[in-house]
């Protein structure tokens, strides 16, 4: 009997069944994809980092390295499992010639290296440790992706000619977010060319137990070992490796959550409408002795079939789609071989969707228990209305056209029904506008100021070199007399001992100078302006356990000085561990200096940047726009793609749901429509009423959706952006898209769907409906 009922029901409500099926399938597909991508990403990262034996602690350093002292430290520290110092030779892009043309290395710090002896191995695309032959060079994968270099091409570097033998995966520096890229050559080639570039040392440690990392860091700093460059840890490498794809997975999870919500709303709407239609029949079934559970089973049977088919289809679709989404992960991180786990996780995701959808259907169906036999048979579904609704009368209205009046009255009278539709449209506009505003925020030139970089035109970084202070002064004096420079500021960082509350001393790198020239955004508090102020990066604040208003004791010029934490900020520069202060100090050794500058309006920024880069070869000169492009370029592309998909998906959802909604409304209202037709309202009148009803709901949904998108959306996007290190930020709203293009697209989708669906009004036969 059930199979006959289900088949008849499916035949009679094709559109509803197909839509519910599609949404269940989409939910199952997205969740299964998120699960499979997650397991692939983490599995591949772990796999790569295991094969490559990524260092647990790495200190970059330039200048002299006291190897003997490092070895003594290493031998005396039981926490250390292995230790090595790798030589990393930086070269400028123009030093390398690929097939006769200068290499386009962007703003990356490119350098060559020989294979690690004990750990930190560079691996090939098969995941094997590379042993380059003489004359061979292996190139970072990101350049293969960009198409800058191809396999087999010849590369000339400092008079030596290499052949690109392949590409390498670098467990430390794969990500575009990592500012350095390592090229691998054979040991003997390395010895030949190493004296031609700028030498930098990577002091690397593997620990017995990764949990001892913090203690080890403190001990390393306390030992006063080489440390004039950034410090990087295993956890940071892991985060950087997973970031771009992790963000994509986060977006998929978010979208799948929204699709599940839409599925629920869709089911709620169709079920409630169906139950309202069948109210009398439910009463009759009860009257003739059917139990509530029997009736619930009748309704549940159809949804069980649809949900099951949807989940199976969704899972199969996820298997087909996953490979294209896994491309990047596989390329950069390698393949995750535990197919069983992947399949299991995908199936579990689909099962989760199956269970929660059916649980929800059951939850909605519980209303059947409340249907009273006598009332349902006498009156059908009766709704109570508010006084305001009752006082909204056509006889009292002087101006409202009867069709507009009837439309408004209907919306006010069936709020629950239209509420569902409104929420779906609200979510749809959020799906449209959120990625767009996220995109405009990340693309905005102000965005860097949330990342610890003041908004200037270009910056000059001097670090890991001798006489930093003098070099900075020299650049500053050139800028002072440079008519192209509108303003500039020199910030100088020194390393200070900070007295910990637990009695343990640590070191803090404090950037001193005028922070008001190119201010950054502070997630809490303000910039340092007084000599007693200090602002901490989020990472430092967390490690030191400090908040705004707390005191911190720093040894300056041999004296313990108490500073007050005036602000907290996010930082992606210098390993994220920085501090900013306004005091003057000329005693300690300068660790780095940053000179930020803004050029005169109309100046050619590119040529100025090139001029400074050529004049001051010891410094790294970065065009901020280019820096943003290089750092966030791939993210911007991914989010742009997500926003395009978002627009399409939201347009499609709005169109499909409206199509279904109006179709159901027409079917539900056919008796009222027949009455209207019998008293002289034509099909155009009725269609117009539907358009007004839906547009009213759409305008409310879109309006509220935009509000939600720019308020709550900011927080949601904040969660995503915080993964880049920015702890707080405000949306840069793309006004044209948010307030004009997206609402217009939604209205077009909704209007077109209503117009198409309401055409079925024409086929409503007065005689048949009234006689029913």
């Amino acid at each position: 009997m059930y199979s006959r009922i289900i088949i008849n029901d499916l035949k009679n409500s094709k559109l509803i069944s197909v839509t519910t099926f599609l949404f269940v399938a989409a939910s199952a597909m997205l969740l299964a994809l998120a699960g499979m991508l997650f397991i692939n990403l983490t599995g591949a990262i772990d796999g790569l980092m295991m094969v490559a034996k990524t260092p647990h602690f790495m200190q970059m350093h330039s200048g002299e390295v006291d190897l003997e002292r490092l070895e003594i430290f290493s031998e005396s520290n039981d926490a250390i499992q292995a230790f090595q110092v790798m030589e990393f030779v930086n070269f400028e892009s123009w030093d390398m010639v690929v097939e006769g043309l200068p290499f386009d290395g962007g703003i990356q710090d490119n350098g060559f290296i020989k294979q690690g002896r004990r750990f930190d191995f560079l691996v090939n695309l098969e995941g094997e440790i590379i042993e380059p032959k003489n004359g061979e060079i292996y190139v970072p994968l990101s350049y293969m992706r960009e198409g800058s270099i191809k396999e087999g091409e010849s590369v000339a570097l400092y008079g030596s000619v290499f052949t690109v033998a392949g590409f390498l995966r670098d467990s430390q520096m794969n990500s575009p977010l990592s500012s350095s890229k390592r090229f691998l050559v054979s040991d003997s080639d390395f010895e030949t060319i190493k004296s031609m570039g700028k030498m930098e040392y990577l002091i690397e440690f593997r620990l017995q137990d990764l949990d001892d990392l913090r203690t080890f860091e403190t001990e390393y700093i306390a030992a006063g070992l080489e440390s004039n460059g950034p410090t990087l840890t295993y956890r940071l490498f892991r985060v950087i490796n997973g970031l771009s794809d992790g963000l994509m997975i986060a977006v998929i999870v978010l979208v799948s959550f929204l699709v599940v919500v839409i599925t629920f709303l869709c089911i709620r709407f169709t079920l409630l409408a169906r139950m309202e239609d069948d109210y009398r029949e439910i009463g009759v079934l009860k009257a003739v002795g059917f139990h509530n559970s029997d009736i619930i089973r009748l309704f549940l049977a159809k949804y069980t079939v649809i949900t099951f088919l949807g989940c199976v289809f969704g899972y199969l679709a996820s298997l087909m789609v996953k490979d294209s989404l896994l491309e990047d992960i596989k390329l950069f991180m390698g393949t995750y071989h535990q197919t069983g786990v992947e399949v299991f996780l995908g199936i579990i995701s689909a099962v989760v969707i199956f269970v929660i959808v059916l649980a929800y259907v059951y939850h909605v169906l519980r209303r059947i228990r409340t249907v009273s036999v006598t009332e349902s048979i006498r009156f059908g579904a009766v709704q109570e209305h508010s006084r305001m609704y009752r006082s909204f009368l056509m006889s009292k209205s002087r101006v409202l056209n009867s069709n507009v009046y009837l439309a408004i009255k209907d919306v006010l009278g069936r709020k629950k029904l239209y509420w569902t539709m409104m929420i779906i449209l609200l979510i749809s506009i959020c799906i449209m506008t959120l990625p767009i505003n996220l995109l405009s925020t990340i693309s905005s030139d102000r965005f860097v100021s949330y990342m610890g970089i003041g908004k200037s035109d270009f910056r000059v970084d001097i670090q890991q070199t001798a006489d930093i202070q003098q070099k900075a002064d020299a650049i500053a004096s050139v800028m002072e007399n440079d008519s192209d420079i509108l303003r500039y500021v020199v910030l100088t960082a020194r390393s200070y001992v900070v007295l910990g509350d637990d009695g343990r001393d640590g070191r803090l790198r404090i950037e001193a100078g005028d922070h008001s020239v190119f201010p950054i955004m502070y997630s809490e508090g303000r910039m340092p302006t007084e000599p007693g102020d200090i602002a901490l990066s989020a990472m430092n604040a967390e490690e030191l356990g400090k908040r705004v208003g707390d005191k911190i004791t720093v040894i300056i010029g041999g004296e313990a000085v108490q500073l007050t934490v005036c602000g907290l900020y996010s930082d992606i520069t210098n390993g994220g561990r920085t501090a900013k202060a306004a005091f003057s100090d000329f005693d300690d050794t300068v660790m780095w200096s940053v000179i930020s500058a803004e050029v005169q309006a109309g100046s050619n920024l590119g040529s100025i940047v090139s001029r400074y880069a050529e004049t001051f070869s010891y410094a790294k000169v970065s065009n901020i726009e280019e820096y943003v492009q290089m750092t966030f370029g791939s993210t911007i592309v991914a989010i742009r793609r997500a926003s395009n998909v978002g627009i399409l998906v939201a347009f499609f959802i709005s169109f499909l749901i409206t199509l279904l909604f109006v179709k159901m409304l027409v079917s539900k209202d056919r008796y009222s429509i027949a009455i209207m037709k019998s008293i002289g309202y034509n099909s155009k009148d009725v269609c117009f009423q539907f358009i007004v009803r839906i547009l009213l709901v759409a305008i409310a949904g879109i309006g509220l959706g935009i509000l939600v998108s720019i308020t709550m959306g900011e927080h949601i996007a904040g969660l995503m952006i915080s993964s880049f290190g920015a702890t707080s930020f405000s949306f840069e709203i793309n006004g044209i898209f948010t307030y004009l293009v997206c609402p217009a697209l939604m209205l077009i989708a909704v209007y077109t769907a209503t117009l198409i669906s309401s055409q079925s009004v024409k086929s409503i036969n007065i005689a048949t409906c009234i006689k029913e």
Partner: protein, 251 residues
């Protein structure tokens, strides 16, 4: 003068072997100002004939002329205009919109017609409601009044645009005898003022108020009875004549 003229009307339902002829080449003329009833057993096609004559349902063949216009040739909008301005309908179940009160239900066709301004429409509706005794219920929801009161409201709605014909499909079918009599009195009164009334009924008592009665069986008019004008005649005699005819025809 003929207000409605049906020529060889045929109406069929169903497809293929299940196809059934409900109206079988029926020709019928109704004059302006007449009070006509159509009688027949259940399934004889009497309601279908009324829907065909009012243009609410299409016919498979034949033609229906309403005030000279052939209904099947009119576009839907023209047909709606005609239905709104020239026809009024009262059905067995009071077909009022659930979300409107009685007054708003009644003025609905007039607001769409736009011949009068809203104030004039309300005044006219209230006068109609007063004439059928439901003025004090004008602000009530349709769930708050009795079946007889609803039917009176439906008659007011049918009259709001001063139509030339009122169609009634068993308008007293769901009412008790006293309410039924009141509704018939109202319809007689309307007819007295020149509006043509066409009723479908299976009740001899209701049918007996008419001047002309068509008896239908198996989709055909099997008999036509003429009675003198209702006023001043013996009601029981009229009912007796109708009942006898029905007996004779086996209805």
């Amino acid at each position: 003068m003929k207000i409605i003229s049906g020529k060889s009307i045929t109406k069929q339902f169903g497809e293929g072997s299940e196809r059934r002829t409900i109206l079988d080449h029926i020709s019928i003329d109704i004059l302006q100002g007449e009070f006509v009833t159509i009688m027949g057993a259940s399934g004889s096609g009497k309601s279908t004939l009324m829907y065909a004559l009012s243009g609410m349902d299409y016919v498979n063949s034949g033609e229906v002329l309403f005030e000279g216009s052939e209904l099947s040739k009119l576009k839907e909008e023209k047909l709606s205009d005609l239905r709104r301005a020239r026809m009024g309908f009262v059905f067995q179940q009071p077909t009022l919109l659930k979300n409107l009160n009685l007054l708003d239900n009644i003025i609905l066709p007039a607001v769409r017609e736009k011949k009068l301004d809203r104030r004039e429409i309300v005044v006219r509706a209230e006068s109609l409601m007063d004439s059928v005794g439901i003025l004090e219920l004008s602000m009530r929801d349709i769930t708050q009044v009795s079946g007889g009161q609803l039917q009176r409201a439906a008659i007011c709605r049918a009259l709001i645009n001063s139509p030339s014909v009122i169609f009634g499909d068993e308008p007293t079918g769901a009412l008790n005898s006293s309410s039924s009599q009141e509704i018939m009195n109202i319809l007689l009164d309307i007819n007295k003022h020149g509006t043509t009334v066409i009723l479908v009924t299976h009740d001899a008592k209701v049918s007996a108020v008419a001047e002309r009665i068509f008896f239908l069986s198996d989709g055909k008019i099997v008999s036509e009875m003429r009675l003198p004008p209702y006023e001043g005649t013996n009601v029981e005699d009229r009912v007796q004549r109708v009942s006898e005819e029905m007996m004779e025809l086996g209805i």
